[in-house]
Amino acid sequence: MPIVRYIVRRLAIALLVLFGISLIVFTVINLQPGNPYATMFSPQADAATREELLRKVGYYDPIWLKYVKWLGRAVQGDLGYSIQLGLPVSAVIASRVGNTLVLTLAAAVIAFVIALPVGIYSAIRRGRVSDRVITIVTFGIMSIPAFFLAMILIRLFSAQLKILPSSGIITPGFTGSSWDVTVDVIKHLVMPATVLAALSFATYSRYIRSSVSEILDTDYVRALFAKGVSRRKVLGKHVMKNAAKPIITVLTLAVPGLLSGALITETVFSWPGLGRLGYEAAVGRDYPLLMGITLLLAVATLLANLLADVLYIVVDPRIRVQS
């Protein structure tokens, strides 16, 4: 089937791109000044001791040799050990990925749920006062820095009202039925997910607004209205099907954003996710961990792109694969 061939070809290209990404990222990371042991050694460690230890871990190898060594292990699935944590990189990432996914998935759902009706309403009312008001409000919300919004929510719900926990993913030492655990986690999830959602809901609603209004302006839609087709049928049967494409694109391309994690939100709320992990790896020059996280992001982005293209083909019969 041509679509299968298409997917296979895309996957092959993706592999090449992945290789290129790993090369570029590896080079850039290793060109930074500083080294991972700077903060691990005590100040007493003199130059000779540091050199000895750095030499042992291959720090002085030429950069191409370091890359070859890393690549050799990576293709076998061994992403190495985190220098600072002493744990296998794959294990560290695996333990954090779930947390980030939950947070960002929840945020995406909240954002989309709000953005869809807002976007459609704006599109229907485009050009009118209500549309302008909505535009201003959405841009306003989008402009609030995540940190600031987070602190406001924490102050309100944790410090003043005392109904939500200010940080973490669960109350320490919590025991209870799985339902109780879920409720506790949701309590911890509400604020960070809302902060993240606030940032992306504006983007989503704008995309939805623009793609829906673009279609509402077309001749065939006008013709449908002129024919007397009910509003509901026009929007449901005709408009949304066509508007679905760009919306799908936006959503699938937001996937890698999900994984890179909202660094600031995770930091403020002490949410143990990938975003904060990546930041600490970068600052601590923890090369293996940093490479692992970057690779994960690259893979996610490539797959998301592929998924978006495949969905396009599925949704719109007019687009066909070139044979």
């Binding site: 500083g34 691990m40 130059a47 940080s167 109350t171 320490p172 025991t175």
Partner: protein, 554 residues
């Protein structure tokens, strides 16, 4: 017109509701909470009254719960509760025996003998003996040890051969019997006790089957530390908390509170977490009067004590501009240090004039120049050194060269970041063309650690170590100064208490005179303590010294 929109919305909401329910399901399965789930019991899930104290940590521990391979303060907090040290520091900054019953230097200062306590047991029930002590410190001298060896072991007999792998045994550490350990020094090292108070003892029977080179990767051992301390390790939920339970057989007495939990709380949300009763104690990150008022209004006590680390502006003494000590003294005079403390620390800090804690019993308080803020003195000294404004442009010059000064500073410490522009202004006021250069911590540290890099000034901080001085002189390149080397050598090789005091005084006075770094301020440490917690006392160097006395009422 509007009806259909609402109906559409309804469907969306229903779909969303489904999505949220799915998310909840995902949450229950996908999230790595590490929470125990039990079907029996009360099921309300809140920590039980009175038997758990929650202490806030600013950042996630790395999980390196090995007392000789850890390097973050957060791992340290856990390690110092699970493991024990031979000696600890008391509130007067003197060494007190802990795991050791007593210690004694030989007359010639070459042998340090520890007599250990009897009847101490490891958390897994095995007996603690001198073999564990010998094993711990011998490992740090091993050629495969994954970190830098503590200075202590490099001074011991036979270190060079052992570290090079030429000998299998380490003659520097001997154990005449189960309760005695002797350290034999090839070169006297008076700072030894500091290392013993910094590096707890690990169990030989737990670690001996793992090669030393793998110690920082031995996940199973690292995640299940066995020590002799007041609390036993229970679990580490990465990124969230560490929980410990009381060791009823602890040699220092059974802890009054059964559970001790260390929760990761960002310093920015610490106040909220304390007020909201999510944690019971935590170190505060600033002394902003508004924050202190909020604590007071919520009945939360802030326990304050002198800090154990100082911030300074390191100078590159080999930089030709700064080689003349009068220039460095001038720069120190030019900085309004009291102003920094008042504005950035709200007065909650002290200045210092040599690299040691002012409460250190060896700190020669009355004999140090206090470099009181004086622009005039600064200008005068610079003039003596040949720097004057010959062309009237407001910037000092000498032999056609303008006095430019780049202040490098690292991000990550807000107070330090805020101090940089203030110091810049101070310098500009006396005619120095001062510029700022910010970089991340690692990059900034790399400037100091590379002896081939020349710089003007780097803002940095360092924790004080009682009886260990000048350990980072290589950052200022002052370690190559003959006088400094001689003075430090004298300090390191004197073990007689009175002679040591005199030697330290001399060294610190020299440092105060030579100004290899501009000593800025020592921020106080403050701990917010909820009113239900009783018995919390801490000193400058020890946070958990009386953890067995902490109680919490509800």
């Amino acid at each position: 017109m509007t009806t259909f929109t609402i109906q559409r919305l309804w469907r969306k909401v229903a779909a969303a509701g489904l999505a949220v329910a799915c998310t909840a399901g995902l949450v229950a399965c996908g999230v790595n909470t590490g929470a125990g789930t039990t079907t029996g019991g009360s099921g309300t899930g809140s920590s039980q009254t009175g038997d758990t104290i929650r202490y806030a940590l600013w950042s996630n521990p790395n999980g390196q719960f090995n007392p000789v391979t850890y390097f973050t303060d957060y791992d340290r907090a856990i390690i110092f509760n699970v493991y024990s040290r031979l000696v600890v520091l008391d509130k007067d900054q003197n060494y007190q025996p802990s795991l050791a019953k007593s210690y004694e230097w030989s007359k010639d200062g070459k042998t340090l003998t520890f007599k250990l306590r009897d009847g101490v047991k490891w958390h897994d029930g095995k007996d603690f003996t001198s073999a564990d002590v010998a094993f711990t410190y011998t490992a740090t001298a091993d050629k495969d040890f994954p970190l830098d060896p503590p200075a202590l072991v490099t001074y011991l007999e036979g270190y060079d051969d052992f570290h090079a792998g030429k000998t299998k045994d380490f003659p520097g550490i001997t154990t005449p019997d189960d309760t005695t350990v002797e350290f034999h020094f090839a070169k006297t090292y008076s700072g030894a006790l500091t290392t013993f108070s910094d590096k707890p003892i690990l169990a030989k029977h737990v670690w001996e089957s793992t090669p030393v080179g793998q110690w920082n990767k031995a996940t199973d051992l690292l995640k299940n530390p066995i020590g002799t301390g007041p609390y036993k390790f229970k679990e580490f939920v990465d990124g969230q908390y560490v929980s410990l339970t009381a060791n009823d057989d602890y040699f220092g007495g059974k802890p009054k509170t059964k559970n001790l939990i260390f929760k990761v709380v960002s310093p920015d949300t610490l106040q909220t977490a304390v007020i909201n009763n999510e944690v019971d104690l935590g170190e505060i990150s600033n002394f902003n009067s508004k924050e202190l008022d909020t604590y007071k209004s919520e009945n939360i006590n802030v326990v304050e004590n002198e800090g154990n680390g100082g911030q300074y502006l390191a100078f590159d003494v080999k930089n030709p501009k700064l080689a003349d000590k009068r220039v460095r003294q001038a720069l120190l005079y030019a900085i309004d240090r009291k102003g920094l403390i008042d504005s950035l620390l709200y007065g909650h800090g002290v200045t210092f004039n040599a690299q040691a804690q002012p409460s250190d019993p060896y700190y020669p308080t009355d004999e140090l120049n206090d470099y009181a803020y004086s622009k005039d003195k600064a200008k005068e000294l610079l003039k003596e050194a040949g720097w004057t404004d010959t062309d009237g442009d407001g910037i000092l010059d000498k032999n056609g060269e303008k006095f430019t000064f780049t202040i490098n500073y690292p991000s990550g410490n807000k107070t330090r970041e805020l101090s940089a522009p203030i110091i810049q202004k101070n310098f500009q006021d006396i005619g120095i063309d001062a510029k700022l250069s910010e970089a991340d911590f690692n990059t900034t540290l790399a400037i100091l650690q590379d002896p081939d890099k020349q710089y003007d000034g780097v803002l940095m901080g360092a924790t004080f170590r009682p009886q260990q001085y000048g350990t980072n002189n290589w950052w200022t390149r002052w370690d190559e100064n003959a006088e400094a080397k001689a003075a430090l050598d004298k300090v390191n090789t004197t073990t007689d208490a009175d002679a040591l005091k005199a030697a330290v005084n001399d060294y610190l006075k020299l440092e105060n005179e030579e100004v290899p770094m501009a000593f800025l301020y020592i921020p106080n440490q403050g701990t917010a303590v909820r009113p239900e917690v009783k018995g919390f006392e801490r000193s400058t160097y020890e946070i958990f010294s009386n953890v067995t006395d902490w109680t919490i009422s509800k």
